[in-house]
Symmetry: C2
Subunit: 238 residues, 2 copies
DNA sequence: GTCTATAGCATGATAGAC
DNA sequence: GTCTATCATGCTATAGAC
């Protein structure tokens, strides 16, 4: 939080945003590898990190299409160019894969949301920034968001709880912005949690029903504007 | 469409609604059995229909919890009190189960929505009725709605297309109501499909995130009121 | 109409060569 | 660090007794 930083509002253009996110992805993967909490047995970082990235990307791709339970590790090995044995040098079990992926996306999401919101004080602007950033994030990391949403219920208790926690945090972020706006007399008095739930539901629709929106030729930016309009109409005191 | 019928607006109380739906469920199952399109090999209707209902309910219960792909037919046989062999007298394959369930819920949903909307002409009232009826339906048939949403992507092409078609029909229903309201000058001029998509997203949140709403002690009726308020705020010309 | 028993296969995971 | 070969298990589906 450097008070001197000049902050422009909102995440800027999607392409610039995408570049930033992609760069931060590798950094997060490298950090996770170095922490060693995920028990990767390959020691050489120059070999391990790119392979980890490919394994995670392939997992997301296959799981998005046919579901994580229906994805076989042979499938996965084939897609990554590894053999079954090779694959098992990176994970201890199929379940480990989920933990790895969940941690990676969770970290990145939190980092990006915090970074983009930092220094934005006005409630209306803050809400708009949160909406747009979340939409951009879920556009760039769509496979991850889709995975986190769709597979959560089938996970072992610990990981499911973690997934639910991340969702609740996002909802709490929006509820906080709304409550703050109410205190300042900018938004009308309605239950902030219900309002945040509505916002989150339409945000999730963007990545859960990607096919539909693509078919209709709706861009993220166009959708973002519509969601912002909805939120303002609903929240503003008229 | 009997013009003489006296129509009260909205689906009435949830408990009465629940009774009506449960009664119509057996009727739909019996009809499907008699049509014989699903290849059930048991001929005695008094035996077959109750068993079919139990098989479908058990499938929905297990699939909601751990996912359809992870549900084994041994699981299912155990829950229904049938053996593996007995189960296979009712279905030809695991996939058949999905077709059966999808058809049953789809028919019932269509029937109920049409029945409740019949005779309601005012766009505002029509929208409110559609919202409330859909929420009531997804509350009473929650396992089916959850299943239809969550398992769609993993299904074989034909069934997936059918699931997507049903979703699109629901969205088109709402879009039609909204467009009608616009023609009559009741609603403001925005893309009816986008607006319908928003409404559908918050309606789906009710059954997709049931745990969250239950935790907060939010009732269907309370949620319905909030959604109606959101829709009106967003659509009304002010 | 329902059961038990089993065929046939794909899966997650590991051992050991290189 | 990665591969091939293999194990044990659990699955869908069917055959045939009752």
């Amino acid at each position: 939080m450097t008070g001197a930083t000049v902050q422009s509002c909102g995440p800027g253009s999607l392409t610039a945003f995408r570049r930033r996110v992609k760069r931060s992805m590798e950094a997060v993967c490298r950090a996770m590898f170095r922490e060693g909490i995920h028990g990767v047995r390959v020691r050489n970082e120059r070999v391990a990190v790119p392979n980890l990235v490919r394994i995670m990307e392939a997992t997301l791709a296959v799981a998005n299409e046919k579901g994580f339970a229906a994805m076989s590790l042979r499938d996965l090995a084939g897609r990554t160019g590894l053999s079954m044995g090779g694959l098992y040098a990176y994970i201890g079990s199929k379940e480990d894969l989920v933990a790895l992926i969940q941690a990676q996306g969770g970290r990145q999401t939190r980092q990006v949301m915090e970074a983009e919101l930092e220094g934005v004080a006005d409630p209306r602007e803050r809400l708009r920034t949160a909406i747009r950033t979340h939409l951009y994030l879920s556009e760039v990391l769509r496979p991850w968001f889709f995975f986190a949403y769709m597979e959560a219920r089938q996970l072992p208790a610990r990981l499911r709880a973690q997934a639910i926690g991340m969702e609740r945090d996002t909802e709490a972020l929006f509820a906080g912005i709304i409550a703050d706006g109410q205190r300042r007399g900018v938004f009308r008095e309605i239950d902030p949690l219900v309002a945040a739930g509505f916002v989150k539901a339409v945000l999730q629709d963007w990545y859960l029903k990607h096919g539909k929106h693509a078919e209709r030729g709706l861009s993220v930016d166009a959708y973002a504007e519509q969601v912002e309009a909805l939120a303002m109409k609903y929240l503003e005191d008229t």
